[in-house]
């Protein structure tokens, strides 16, 4: 097939960032602070974080659009920290797509090949193959301004990939698309990336995108990587309360960790914990936490909500509170239950049973392995 022939030479490269720092003269804190990260060959890594966390700054330093204040960037062991951007051979997709308005679709896609002085017939074949890859072969002679957001985004992707980049850099490529298109483009970008085995760095503030598309997620906050791990690790075993709340929804409780009651599988232990003055709850955590003050994480969908519970078993914890917020989306119910002055969120599948009303009392409980004691110390 011509598509794979023309684009299969993308050679997966390994990217290493070491001590990467960007300090703006006007700012007190570095925008990016001694970042260390390795991106494996063919992996898609998401830089996930709120605006101002340094994710875009990091991407721009990798692209060569910004000079790092300190640290180094290397690709396959070659230091490229001071290589000018036009010699880095990376493919970048910008948030605004940055398509050249004075060129048509084919000219846009062919620009990188033209700069590399690729022979005309080969240029033509590779542009055609790249457009075919994003299913826009029929638009080759169109002006780019006449295209929809989704089409522009594909052209931008084709333009970045046609030069067979060592590294693909995506700067919030989906944020300008409407919700439906965003989800389908996610799948499309991911499948192209996996087919080409292109090592990819992807900046996003959308946790769903990061969870859905990545091999690894680097959760960034204030210029630092708070956690680097697989989507499941980041979601199920967040190391800090920032990661817990930024990736997925979370209920956090402060707790003094009680007795270690045994293994919870792997390296983890099962502890007794008290929450909001009530004992009898269980949670998992790493060894040696007994007696320390920690943050307890319970995801809303891991909470069990009961309106008229049976008599509690002795020692089995249960939090009672008044339903203050109620959301119904057909398949799911979401609750905001006021317990001790704070709102605890809970979600459950709608079973067809009568929907509770605001003001009713709800009882919340959880299984020990549905709660996690965060390793981060509470200061």
């Amino acid at each position: 097939m011509t598509i794979t022939q023309a684009t299969s030479q993308v050679t997966a490269a390994k990217l290493s960032l070491s001590g990467l720092t960007k300090q703006y003269a006007a700012a007190d804190e570095p925008a990016v602070n001694r970042l260390d990260m390795d991106v494996e060959e063919g992996h898609l890594v998401a830089l996930l974080g709120p605006s101002g966390c340094g994710k875009t700054t990091t991407l721009q330093m990798v692209a060569g659009l910004l000079d790092p204040t300190a640290g180094s960037i290397s690709v396959d062991g070659n230091d490229i920290t001071h290589t000018p951007v036009h010699q880095r051979g990376m493919g970048m997709v910008f948030q605004s797509y940055a398509l050249f308005p004075h060129m048509n679709v084919a000219q846009n896609v062919g620009f990188g090949l033209e700069m590399r002085k690729v022979a005309k017939p080969e240029q033509k074949a590779r542009v055609a193959a790249a457009l075919e890859m994003v299913q826009l072969g029929h638009l080759a002679t169109r002006r780019v301004k006449a295209l929809s957001g989704g089409q522009q985004q594909r052209i931008a992707l084709a333009r970045a990939l046609v030069v067979e980049p060592t590294l693909l850099l995506l700067d919030e490529p989906l944020s300008n698309l409407d919700a439906k298109l965003r989800v389908s483009m996610r799948t499309e970008i991911r499948s192209i990336q996996q087919r080409l085995k292109a090592t990819t760095l992807f900046v996003t503030h959308d946790q769903d995108e990061a969870l859905d598309m990545s091999d690894r997620i680097a959760v960034m906050n204030k210029g630092l990587i708070e956690q680097f791990g697989s989507p499941a690790e980041v979601y199920e075993r967040p190391r800090t309360s920032f990661v817990a709340t930024f990736v997925g929804r979370a209920n956090l409780f402060e707790t003094i960790v009680g007795e270690d009651v045994g293994s919870a599988g792997g390296d983890e232990r099962l502890y007794r914990v008290g929450v909001k003055g009530q004992d009898g709850f269980g949670a998992v955590g790493r060894p040696g936490l007994t007696g320390s003050t920690r943050t307890l994480l319970v995801r809303p969908h891991r909470l069990r909500v009961e309106l008229a519970p049976d008599e509690p078993l002795p020692g089995a914890g249960r939090l009672a509170g008044v339903i203050r917020e109620l959301g119904y989306t057909g398949n799911a119910l979401s609750f905001g239950v006021e317990i001790g002055g704070t709102i605890v969120r809970a979600e459950m599948h709608a079973s067809g049973a009568p929907i509770p009303r605001k003001g009713e009392t709800a009882h919340l409980s959880w299984q020990p392995d549905d709660a996690l004691i965060l390793p981060e110390e509470v200061r």
Binding site: A63, G64, L65, P84, V85, H86, Q87, R88, G89, M90, G91, M92, F94, S96, A98, L99, F100, P101, H102, F111, G112, M115, R116, R143, K145, R159, A160, V163, L169
Partner: protein, 304 residues
């Protein structure tokens, strides 16, 4: 109660639409009227009057002989002196416009790009010369460029030249003066014409392997062409119609249409000829503007 039939509803709707459209149209015309009246009285009528005047004949002692002849108009087109003046004017306009755009482009690009907190102040500084009249600025240039002026005395003092360069009372002085005087306009027009220039486009080009020169020629310059062309047109139009600077810095030896019109209108009092020369200037505008239209359509083919 009977329900209105759908076709009745539709008819009522169409009627309402029509009434609204009429009302809209009346509002538009009402709003346009004062401006149109102003234009008619202040622009169209005088222009027609000048056109009519160009067909009159100039008599001795400033007498205007009412006629309908082509003599006055024919004169600037056939007389070798006036032909030369016309060509000189055209060339001066082109030269000033080219030099002015070249000198203003980097400044405009810098100001359009700058994210500095001083941007506002710098922009104000760039256009501040507009606060001084071009008469004062032309005299200023005479002081600088004269044979005992700053430029000549410096060069003489440094031993670069042995006799003063002739920089005033000729076309050189006029061009230097006009370029500087029109730079603020060119800068302003270009800044507002650089709308399509998005730094991300240049970054994208660089990431695709374009070096600095290629980025500039293929992206920056290409996308700033609308602003450049508009600035060029404006400066050209201003320079071929300006009278003060060619008169002052040219010292009477630079003869362009504007100074010629002034002489014919105020010194020789031949109004029909002055009017005919004005019509020539108008025609030059027309030629350049139609060329501009064609070019701008090409460079802005971007949206089509």
């Amino acid at each position: 109660m009977t329900k209105p039939r759908p076709d009745e509803l539709a008819a009522g709707g169409a009627d309402r639409d029509k009434r609204r459209r009429n009302l809209d149209r009346r509002t538009y015309w009402g709003l346009l009227l004062p401006g149109l009246l102003g234009l008619l009285v202040g622009y169209v009528l005088p222009l027609l009057w000048i056109l009519r005047m160009a067909f009159n004949k100039g008599g001795p002692d400033g007498l205007v002989i009412s006629a309908f002849s082509g003599d006055s108009l024919r004169k600037p087109l056939t007389d070798s002196y006036y032909l030369k003046v016309t060509v000189t004017t055209f060339r001066m306009g082109l030269l000033v416009a080219v030099l002015c755009v070249l000198a203003s482009y980097p400044i405009a690009l810098f100001l359009a790009r700058s994210t500095s907190k001083w941007k506002g102040l710098l922009t104000a500084l760039a256009i501040a010369p507009l606060l001084t009249s071009s008469v004062a600025r032309s005299y200023g240039w005479i002081v600088i460029l004269g044979s005992n002026g700053l430029v000549n005395s410096s060069l003489l003092g440094l031993g670069v030249i042995s006799t003063p360069l002739k920089l005033t009372n000729n076309m050189t002085g006029v061009v230097i003066g006009l370029v500087e005087i029109f730079m603020p306009y060119a800068i302003l027009v270009m800044i507002s014409g650089f709308g399509q220039l998005n730094p991300q486009l240049e970054q994208a080009a660089a990431s695709l392997g374009a070096n600095a020169v290629k980025v500039f020629t293929r992206i920056t310059l290409r996308l700033s062409m609308p602003g450049v062309l508009t600035a060029f047109l404006l400066v050209f139009v201003l320079s071929i119609s300006t009278f003060v600077t060619p008169r002052l810095l040219g010292g009477g030896s630079v003869r362009v249409l504007a100074t010629e019109i002034y002489d014919q209108a105020n010194v020789l009092i031949n109004w029909p000829l002055a009017a005919a020369l004005s019509v020539i200037v108008f025609a030059l505008f027309g030629i350049v503007i139609s060329g501009y239209q064609r070019l701008i359509r090409k460079v802005e083919g971007i949206d089509r």
